[in-house]
């Protein structure tokens, strides 16, 4: 009982670090293995989506980027160099596509308030909390802070790998990460107290 309680609590509180992907999975995708492709999608799509969302800042574009990323991954898997960093590779592709999307959209202003849609079926309390967290990330974090903290929360990448992916010095990533967490916490606490 106690054990179950603990692990449930952990799941609730600890950042959901996605399990690392293996090189072999990408190699199977390269061979046209549909099952491997599906597995890759199921294991990585939330991290890809979250990262895309942290860049494009709206659910519609983030979904496009997510889908395009996996098509690119499928097409380019044959040239993947197995170096034990499939997640970083997938996310690099996602980043390129997300930045492309931003450039395309440059002239079209975003709607003021995103009406967050939660795909997972969650209870009303949790839904309320989720929406507040998303709002916090979009409103109170700088673009780079949001990307850093999202990558750390969802992808399982290390700070050093995040630095490489975002082309930033490690020290910058670390300070942005810490600042982002503080801002998030303050925002959430303030909103939930009222």
């Amino acid at each position: 009982m106690l054990l179950f309680g603990l692990s449930a609590l952990e799941q609730e509180l600890l950042p959901a670090r996605a399990p690392a992907l293996e090189d072999s999975l990408i190699l199977r995708v390269a061979q046209g293995d549909t099952q491997a492709f599906s597995e890759l999608y199921l294991r990585a799509h939330k991290a890809v989506y979250g990262f895309a969302l942290s860049i494009v800042k709206n659910q519609h574009d983030a979904e496009d980027v997510m889908q395009d990323t996996f098509l690119k991954v499928d097409a380019a898997a044959g040239s993947y160099q197995p170096k034990g960093k499939p997640m970083a590779w997938v996310l690099t592709i996602a980043r390129n596509l997300a930045l492309e999307k931003l450039r395309e959209r440059r002239d079209v202003p975003l709607e003021q308030e995103e009406d967050w849609h939660l795909w997972a079926s969650v209870d009303p309390t949790r839904a309320q909390e989720d929406k507040l967290a998303l709002e916090a990330a979009m409103k109170c974090l700088g673009n780079e802070e949001r990307q850093v903290v999202t990558l750390h929360a969802l992808s399982g990448l290390k700070h050093r790998e995040i630095a490489a992916l975002l082309d930033m010095p490690l020290a910058t990533v670390l300070s942005k990460y810490r600042r982002a967490l503080l801002k998030l916490k303050d925002y959430l606490e303030e909103r939930e107290a009222t």
Binding site: A16, L42, M66, D74, A75, W116, A137, L170
Partner: protein, 507 residues
């Protein structure tokens, strides 16, 4: 609320917000595969929907120009703009060509192109004469030589057969012309029969020709981790080298000759440098690649460790060094992994590669004491039991043995560069708990010990991340340390004290 709770909340919210559209994607993927099978393989590998607007607009603009001086219909017909010819080296030049292969206009697409055209007036001259003049000018201005020998010809015409014929005749002209200059040229040819709007706007954004943009897209299709932006600035010769090393899809292209890598240290030299870093290793793979600059990327295997090195293609300096346990390795590690070029205690990056800048420094050799200090910086508190000066391949080295806590360290140091040429750690006996051949039941390495091991390798470093974890049932310590612009990523087996991962990166 703690800060980590805030992170967990964000993670959960984003996961709840992520849609699962796998089914839809699988359908699109199926559809794409079906189409791939029936698609004409000579078409450039990109995008199904294409637009004609810009191509048509360019034609219309050129048409106005011609009609302005037009006379009777036959003349106008023969002299109407028909093809666009892009010539890319680093200078990029675009020719608008009529049906009877006369040049209607000649436009520089970048600053180098302006220099090439200079004050030549090519309008009205036959296409092959104009191309000869342009290529001649490029050779004269030093844009084509034995270091950069690649030329890209792109012919755009709706009529695929005509485009192909024109492309081939131009390629033959140029190859002949460059052979006459005693240049071993690498000439690439491609045709564009339908316009790709996305690619056209990319080309416009970065001020390059549609031809060069198409070439870049081929490389990006094989390696989407690269960006259009980073490749747009490269010369056609560098792109050609990447095209070949990445084995990009060149269907529909004609590629003759071999891109010159003579401006770079070359694959052979890069191989030598890589092997000199880890003597006795097996070179698994070495490729030309792009990572904020042209590099050779080498993968080596030794004693169950896999090393990834990046060597600057221009200077031969090692700019990246990583190692990891080889997944396929089933034996035990007889010795620990080499610790990389950064293991010189000075913290400066030194490589044993012979570069001009380094040979100048070779006038001063470090003293015996300085060499000993370098060793002691690696293993503070050790006793040096053997020490001598020697020469190896004509260079002065110090070599010897040091002992600390039951481990024996064999070293060789280059006396001119302070670089470690050899660093082998071995157990003298099994008495030390951190030894690599520890038997079960001995006390595991504690956190302090693990930190000390890291700092012994990179004295003066700051450990910025450190955690205890388990991996395949064994307890490990992992984290990150930084020193002098290098970032180190490590994993240490708590039971044996062995480094199972050690990556160094200064990018």
């Amino acid at each position: 609320m703690k800060e980590h709770d805030a992170e967990a909340r964000l993670a959960r919210a984003m996961e709840d917000a992520a849609p699962n559209r796998l089914d839809e994607l699988l359908e699109v993927r199926e559809e794409a595969r079906r189409q791939e099978k029936i698609v004409d393989i000579s078409a450039p590998p990109r995008k199904k929907r294409r637009r004609w607007q810009n191509f048509a607009a360019a034609m219309a603009a050129a048409l106005v120009l011609v009609i302005g001086g037009g006379s009777f219909f036959g003349w106008r017909y023969a002299n109407a703009p028909d093809s666009l010819v892009d010539i890319d080296v680093n200078p990029s030049v675009q020719l608008t060509v009529s049906r009877n292969e006369k040049v209607l206009s000649c436009e520089a697409l970048n600053a180098d192109g302006t220099e090439i055209i200079d004050d030549m007036d090519l309008r009205g001259s036959p296409l092959n004469v104009a191309v000869n003049a342009l290529i001649g000018s490029m050779v004269q201005h030093g844009y084509i030589d034995e270091l950069k020998n690649s030329v890209l010809i792109t012919v755009a015409n709706e009529d695929a057969a005509k485009a192909k014929a024109l492309q081939e005749s131009l390629m033959a002209d140029i190859s002949g012309l460059l052979a006459g200059e005693s240049l071993d040229a690498a000439v690439m040819g491609q045709t564009i029969t339908t316009r790709d709007q996305t690619l056209a706007s990319q080309a416009e954004t970065y001020g390059i020709s549609a031809g060069k943009a198409t070439l870049i897209q081929r490389i990006l299709d094989t390696d989407p981790t690269l960006t259009f932006e980073s490749l747009a600035g490269l010369s056609v010769n560098d792109l050609n080298l990447l095209l070949q090393s990445k084995q990009a899809d060149t269907s529909g292209m004609t590629v003759t000759g071999q891109a010159s890598d003579k401006a770079y240290i070359g694959l052979e030299k890069a191989r030598e440098i890589a092997l000199a870093q880890i003597p006795g290793a097996t070179l698994k793979e070495i490729d030309f690649d792009y990572d904020d600059g042209m590099v050779y990327e080498a993968e080596l295997l030794k004693d169950g460790y896999e090393y990834d090195l990046e060597i600057d293609a221009l200077t031969g300096a090692v700019v990246k060094w990583e190692y990891e346990e080889d997944d396929h390795w089933s034996g035990t590690h007889e010795r620990g992994p080499a610790t990389g070029p950064e293991s010189s205690g000075s913290g400066t990056q030194t490589t044993p590669s012979p570069q001009p800048s380094q040979s100048q420094q070779q006038t001063t050799l470090i003293t015996e004491q300085e060499a000993k200090n370098l060793v002691l910086a690696q293993v503070p508190g050790a006793t040096i039991v053997e020490f001598e000066r020697d020469t190896d391949d004509g260079r002065a080295i110090y070599k010897g043995e040091a002992v600390l806590d039951g481990r024996e360290y064999e070293f060789e140091i280059d006396a001119s560069t302070s670089a470690f040429l050899k660093w082998d750690a071995d157990d003298v006996d099994d008495g030390w708990q951190g030894g690599s051949s520890t038997s079960a039941g001995q006390t595991a390495l504690d956190e302090e010990g693990a930190r000390a091991l890291v700092l012994a390798r990179i004295p003066g470093a700051t450990i910025v991340e450190f955690e205890r974890d388990s991996d395949d049932g064994r307890t490990i310590y992992k984290g990150e340390a930084v020193l002098d612009g290098w970032e180190y990523d490590f994993e240490i087996d708590a039971a044996s004290g062995e480094f199972i991962k050690w990556e160094a990166d200064n990018r």
